[in-house]
Symmetry: C2
Subunit: 195 residues, 2 copies
DNA sequence: ACCTGAACACCGTTCAAGT
DNA sequence: ACCTGAACACCGTTCAAGT
């Protein structure tokens, strides 16, 4: 996901930030440790970003691009059964968040990062719009009841996001009583598809 | 919500922490400012809590008790139309979170607070169980299709929680395209009730 | 244009000391 | 049992200075 030529300082800063987020969460991202891993001083960050905040927002935007691809790629392969693709996309979303919990929370739950910049907001909307497009494809193929696709997208994303957030907060696995998020997603799909 | 006799230091510490959470979020809660507002030194906190973390967890537990009341109280008044009570409880949940966003996130989204203590976890489960009881009452009155009530509770709480979290993160109001959480909750109730 | 080291104002936490 | 002030090791950010 690194964009430009090899081994620039900026790339190392981004890579170090991702690494620290994955290892110890957002609180582990100190400019001094980022600098250490990128082999620059702790002030070098300020030559590329206006603040620690802006550095985190940059990582969030890169991940939001990946998330959007998750939904757009889902439609491509065999669009004659888009409902199956929708299911897979939602389950992939669960896996996506679990693979990088701190980074997932960074771009959807972190209010500070959300406020940071208009372009982060824009990337988030683009990712959610991609899901709405996928849903519209299901409706066009008569595999999903008609109705506002953006409303259905909000319901589906809201549900999956909530399940993810509860699980990451440790609230889902608490008692064995509660089902796994996967089962709840299946329940939602059942409710949505039965006409 | 303060439990004991009037004007103890501990109560002032809790009150100051709630105040700071509401005013400036979790990052505004510094022990020095908490101490200042409680008119004690910034170290007095350590006579009542083992860490800043434990102080935040204590506030989270008090709020979780309130949240549980939201669901248990919903059932009491006129339980002959429990489905109406369920709808009201879910909408109250939206209002509950909006009234104290930082404190809501504290007990359901903050992974650090979640890990803090077994009793916080227990309070969270108790709150969610109260919702499951409400759902079971709807099923007993034949106003909701039968099926595992804990699964339905997970679906409903997951959805509302996700919508709240996206809104608090600023992702919902982004474009006017997206509906208000209230509308999505209505959509969910429609899907669940039609048999 | 990019990077550095010293300095500043903060923070959570610890500790010796007081009542 | 409760509270305090000084101190410690951190942190983000700023700034003068170097290339």
């Amino acid at each position: 996901m690194l964009i430009t030529q090899n081994g620039t300082t900026l790339e190392y800063l981004i890579a170090a930030t991702k690494q620290l987020l994955d290892e110890g969460g957002v609180k582990a991202v100190t400019l001094r440790e980022v600098g250490r891993r990128a082999r620059v001083s702790h002030n070098a960050v300020y030559r590329h970003f206006t603040s620690r905040h802006a550095l985190l927002a940059a990582v969030a935007e890169l991940d939001l691009d990946d998330l959007k691809l998750l939904f757009t790629d889902a439609l491509a392969p065999n669009s004659d059964i888009p409902l199956a693709e929708l299911r897979i996309a939602l389950l992939h979303l669960l896996a996506f968040a679990r693979a990088r919990p701190a980074r997932y929370r960074l771009f959807f739950s972190d209010a500070d990062v959300a406020m940071a910049d208009g372009s982060t907001q824009q990337k988030a909307v683009a990712a959610l719009d991609a899901l709405a497009t996928l849903i519209r494809a299901c409706q066009d193929a008569d595999e999903l009841a008609p109705g506002d696709p953006r409303k259905l997208a909000a319901l589906m994303y809201g549900t999956v996001h909530g399940l993810i957030d509860l699980e990451l907060g440790g609230r889902m696995q608490a008692s064995k009583e509660w089902s796994r998020p996967e089962e709840i997603v299946e329940l939602l799909l059942t409710l949505v598809t039965r006409t």
